[in-house]
């Protein structure tokens, strides 16, 4: 018998499924497709305010951090750091203070945990930064990054454009294509040779994140040795290499822990449970041939917000939760959902499910709709995570809390 069905394969879903499986539960993870990790920087953003934990105490009680609790955040982060160490993808940083990492636009990204290769780029670091773009790579602009950094008062020692071998390309390369090239030792040899002369005197070099996909630690170390300087990575446009590395690590973790993965099917609707409709018996998935019923003791919705369809906004101004049609409170005035600039905070981004103290979605009277259905991650109401800089922290903390609740 399956103990837990997790729906959604983003950071929330993967983390929740792996965690539950390691706690001894039989877990099935269902997802229509992959989640948003391929779009992300691979870091764990907790709160872009200094110091992050203290700021958390000032959050509204409906905020997902308050619902999940600080203990859940701490435990999840500890779990996460341990896992990443074991998966060969060590992270640095801690909850007491943000790192400030340079972005491809030369802005400053506040984050609590970053992969080691990115953490080396901390703007508080002593060594001056040399920015290096890659010739023909359209997803990183050295001049934009350099001028941005200069304007926020970060001294950029130098900006260079580094050549890449085999320039006669028949198609544009994404960062993943470069990352795969870097897995090849002969490529690295040729690259390092042509780069060394252009990097004399450089102490800390920031390049677009492309140092390997599956063997990143080895690739990074090798390039560091060959160039004789610190190298750090700057994430660029999706598909994001650091995001994909994190996704691979979490998927491996989940599969090793025995999570059963069903990819490519949409979960839609519940399997009738007993108890007069107070329990969900599982979920119905729409597979290639038709619907299939997956039964389980509990269901954890990690389907995200609007981006990947955990929530759906309708023309009439209403918003729907897409698996169980759980209630989402919204005014019905669709013009009130967005604000004038994408850079501003957006009302729609705070929409989602309200949950009780056990992370169970509640109805109009504040009572859990189902005894055994839980929600975590972007599906939760109460936070514009892009504006707050809190996306991954909420994913981890709420996933932890929801799993703990579902298994007790």
């Amino acid at each position: 018998m399956t103990h837990l069905i997790v729906i959604g394969a983003g950071l929330t879903g993967l983390f929740a499924a792996a965690h539950a499986a390691e706690r001894g539960a039989t877990v099935t993870l269902v997802a229509l497709g992959r989640g948003g990790l391929a779009l992300s920087h691979g870091c764990i953003d907790v709160l872009a305010v200094e110091p992050p934990l203290e700021a958390m105490s000032r959050l509204d009680k409906s905020h997902p951090y308050v619902k999940a609790g600080q203990k859940a955040l701490r435990s999840a982060v500890e779990q996460f750091l341990g896992w990443m160490e074991q998966e060969g993808l060590p992270y640095q940083g801690h909850l007491e203070q943000n790192l400030r990492l340079p972005t491809a636009l030369g802005a400053s990204h506040s984050t609590c945990l970053a992969p080691a290769a990115q953490a080396q780029g901390d703007l508080e670091g002593k060594e001056p930064v040399t920015l290096a773009g890659l010739a023909g790579f359209r997803d990183f602009s050295t001049s934009l990054a350099a001028s941005g950094l200069e304007r926020i008062g970060v001294r950029v020692a130098n900006s260079v454009e580094l050549p890449l071998p085999h320039q006669a390309s028949v198609r544009d390369r994404y960062s993943i294509d470069l990352a795969r090239r870097f897995e090849d030792k002969a490529w690295r040899e040729e690259v390092a040779r042509s780069w060394k002369t252009r990097l004399t005197g450089a102490r800390r070099i920031g390049i677009p994140a492309c140092l390997g996909l599956t063997s990143h630690p080895e690739v990074w170390r090798d390039m560091h040795e060959r160039l004789g300087a610190l190298i750090f990575e700057i994430p660029t446009l999706p598909p994001s290499v650091p995001g994909l590395r994190l996704e691979n690590a979490l998927r491996n973790r989940a599969l090793k822990a025995g999570v059963r993965l069903i990819e490519g099917s949409r979960a839609l609707g519940q399997v009738d449970g007993r108890s007069g409709g107070r329990r969900a018996g599982g979920v119905v998935i729409h597979a290639a041939g038709g619907p299939r019923a997956l039964q389980a003791d509990a269901v954890l919705l990690a389907t995200g917000g609007f981006l990947h369809g955990g929530l759906v906004a309708r023309q009439d101004g209403r918003a729907q939760e897409s698996v169980f049609d759980l209630p989402v409170r919204v005014s019905g005035d669709r013009t009130a959902l967005t604000a004038g600039s994408p850079i501003e905070a957006q009302p729609y981004a705070t929409l989602g499910l309200l949950v009780d103290s056990r992370m169970r979605p509640v109805g109009a009277r504040g009572k859990a709709v189902f005894e055994n259905v839980f929600a975590a991650g972007g599906l939760l109401a109460g936070s514009d995570r892009s504006s707050e800089g809190s996306r991954q922290g909420i994913d981890l903390a709420s996933a932890w809390r929801a799993v703990e609740s579902s298994l007790t």
Binding site: L39, L105, S143, L144, D172, L307, A313, S341
Partner: protein
């Protein structure tokens, strides 16, 4: 203040103004054209994309219909590369007046507008997405005309013939001396500098801003401004222009143009040329009317919405008439005769389809007032493709090859619309650049489904590299704000998902909000 003198100063660089300036060069006149924005930033760049066959107006506005029918043929001859011969369909739905099609067909014949009835089955075979319950169907000679291509073509022709075209320059004041307009103050958007231009004749082709231009010479122009909203769907849902066969109303035309198709339009009175905001009811109406024609419309992606403003001449006796029912035919006002002010002619109204005819009539008047004998040559003069600007889908794919093994256009910056780095560099070198939207108008950068989610950063990087000298920053945030503005009226379903992806990239990943003043 430095001064410049010419014979003809044309105010306004939409299709009307450009057509007038071009006609002027062919008649041997010295001409300067001044446009306050970028090419295509005004009404001509916001229009529906339709080269009218005239069929739409045969009953409601026969003069306009006849003009459209004859100009349609002329434009196909002289600027063929701007036109895609999509053909057009008029279809009636079960809810449309049953007696209209026959009356309409009759009127088509009378006006010399070709229209041929086909069976509903034949119509559905051509356009499988159309409502299968359609009643009657007719083929007409509508087509799609790309106004950006047209603008570039005309500017190219004007300049080659020795004419002057100034973009991002605004006529602020017209100076009158002894009952005659003698010079104009023109301010540059880029430098703020003011130049005085003297001319023998001034043509006011400023569209929705014609009232302001005329007012600066002390003339009160009775203009009716009607705002029309349009929605672009991400794909060519139809391959021919599709019209409803009923009395013209809101939302009854669907035009395929390039890689998209455009649902339009509405007609709301506004007070100024700057009122371009979109109301929810307009979107709901356009989508509902679109759904009547294409029942699966809600399953398709709506890219963005925008508005353009038509200026129509409102003769005194038609005060209070709804703007939709005002004659679409153009008006050419000789202020010398009308208002006792010499040297100024205002050209208002009309359709983009009739721009050449409007220009011809205007230049006839201009030549008369200059005492110049010069017949119009525009209908016989084919214009070459300047080989830049927006490209039709087939042109864009020319770089790709059949067997999949040859070189591809690399450094594709906008993947949705297949715009390459060299396209961008060429455009910047040729025209300079004031904002990233210039590249959007020139090349369709950021006009595809992802609405610049990826190409905004890439293009900003290229512009930054080329250090366009007068740009303080790469204009990234402004560009994103413009895309957002177009998506907001459609912010639900998949359009909202696309908006959210933009935030993931520009906020989460690039942290654009923390980028300081001037960075963008």
């Amino acid at each position: 203040m430095p001064a410049l003198s010419t014979q003809l100063l044309v105010i306004g660089g939409g299709a009307t103004g450009l057509g007038i300036a071009w006609d002027a060069t062919l008649r041997g006149l010295k001409v300067v054209l001044v446009e306050q924005g970028d090419l295509g930033q005004g009404t001509s760049g916001r229009y529906h994309g339709l080269l009218h066959s005239g069929a739409r107006y045969v009953i409601s506005d026969p003069t306009s219909a006849a003009d459209c029918a004859s100009e349609n043929l002329i434009l196909r001859r002289i600027v063929p590369h701007t036109i895609e011969d999509t053909g057009g369909l008029f279809v009636s739905l079960p809810t449309d007046p049953l007696d209209y099609p026959d009356a309409w067909l009759d009127a088509c014949r009378k006006q010399g507008v070709p229209a041929e009835e086909i069976s509903p089955a034949a119509a559905l075979e051509r356009e499988p997405l159309l409502n299968s319950r359609l009643g009657r169907a007719f083929l007409v000679q509508d087509a799609a005309l790309d106004s950006f291509d047209l603008s570039h073509t005309l500017v190219d022709a004007i300049r080659r013939a020795g004419g002057t075209v100034w973009l991002r320059q605004r006529v602020e004041t017209l100076h009158v001396e002894s009952g005659r307009v003698v010079r104009a103050d023109v301010r540059s958007f880029r430098t703020g500098e003011v130049v005085t231009v003297g001319a023998e004749v001034f043509v006011n082709a400023a569209g929705p801003f014609a009232g302001e231009v005329a007012a600066s010479a002390g003339i009160a122009l009775p203009l009716a401004l009607g705002k029309g909203t349009m929605v672009a769907m991400a794909e060519r849902l139809v391959h021919a222009v599709v019209n409803r066969c009923k009395p013209p109303a809101d939302g009854d035309i669907l035009v395929p143009i390039g890689t998209v198709c455009i649902l339009g339009t509405t007609d709301t009175p506004v007070a100024s040329g700057k009122e371009l905001s979109i109301e929810p009811w307009e979107i709901d109406l356009l989508l509902a009317e679109g759904e009547a024609l294409i029942p699966t419309l809600p399953d398709h992606r709506a890219l963005r919405a925008w508005a353009g403003i038509r200026a129509l001449y409102q003769p005194p006796q038609s005060d209070g008439q709804p703007t939709r029912t005002l004659p679409r035919a153009h008006a050419i006002i000789d202020h010398s005769a009308n208002d006792g002010l010499a040297g100024l002619i205002t050209v208002i109204g009309g359709k983009l389809t009739t721009f050449r005819l409007m220009a011809e009539e205007t230049l006839d008047l201009v030549c008369r007032s200059l005492g110049v004998e010069a017949p119009c040559q525009t209908s016989e003069t084919s214009l070459p493709d300047p080989a830049h600007g927006q490209l039709s889908p087939t042109k864009r794919l020319a770089g790709f090859d059949r067997d999949g093994s040859g070189p591809k256009p690399v450094e594709t910056i906008c993947e949705c619309e297949l715009v390459t780095r060299s396209d961008l560099a060429t455009a910047i070198e040729r025209d300079g650049i004031d904002e990233l939207d210039d590249l959007r108008r020139d090349l369709r950068l950021g006009m595809g489904p992802c609405q610049a989610a990826f190409c905004a950063y890439r293009a900003a990087g290229i512009v930054h590299d080329l250090r366009a000298p007068h740009m303080a920053d790469a204009g990234l945030v402004d560009f994103l704000n413009e895309r957002w503005r177009g998506m907001r009226p459609l912010a639900w379903g998949h359009t909202l998902r696309q908006m959210e992806l933009i935030r993931r990239i520009y906020l989460d990943l690039l942290c654009t909000s923390t980028a300081p003043e001037g960075q963008g």
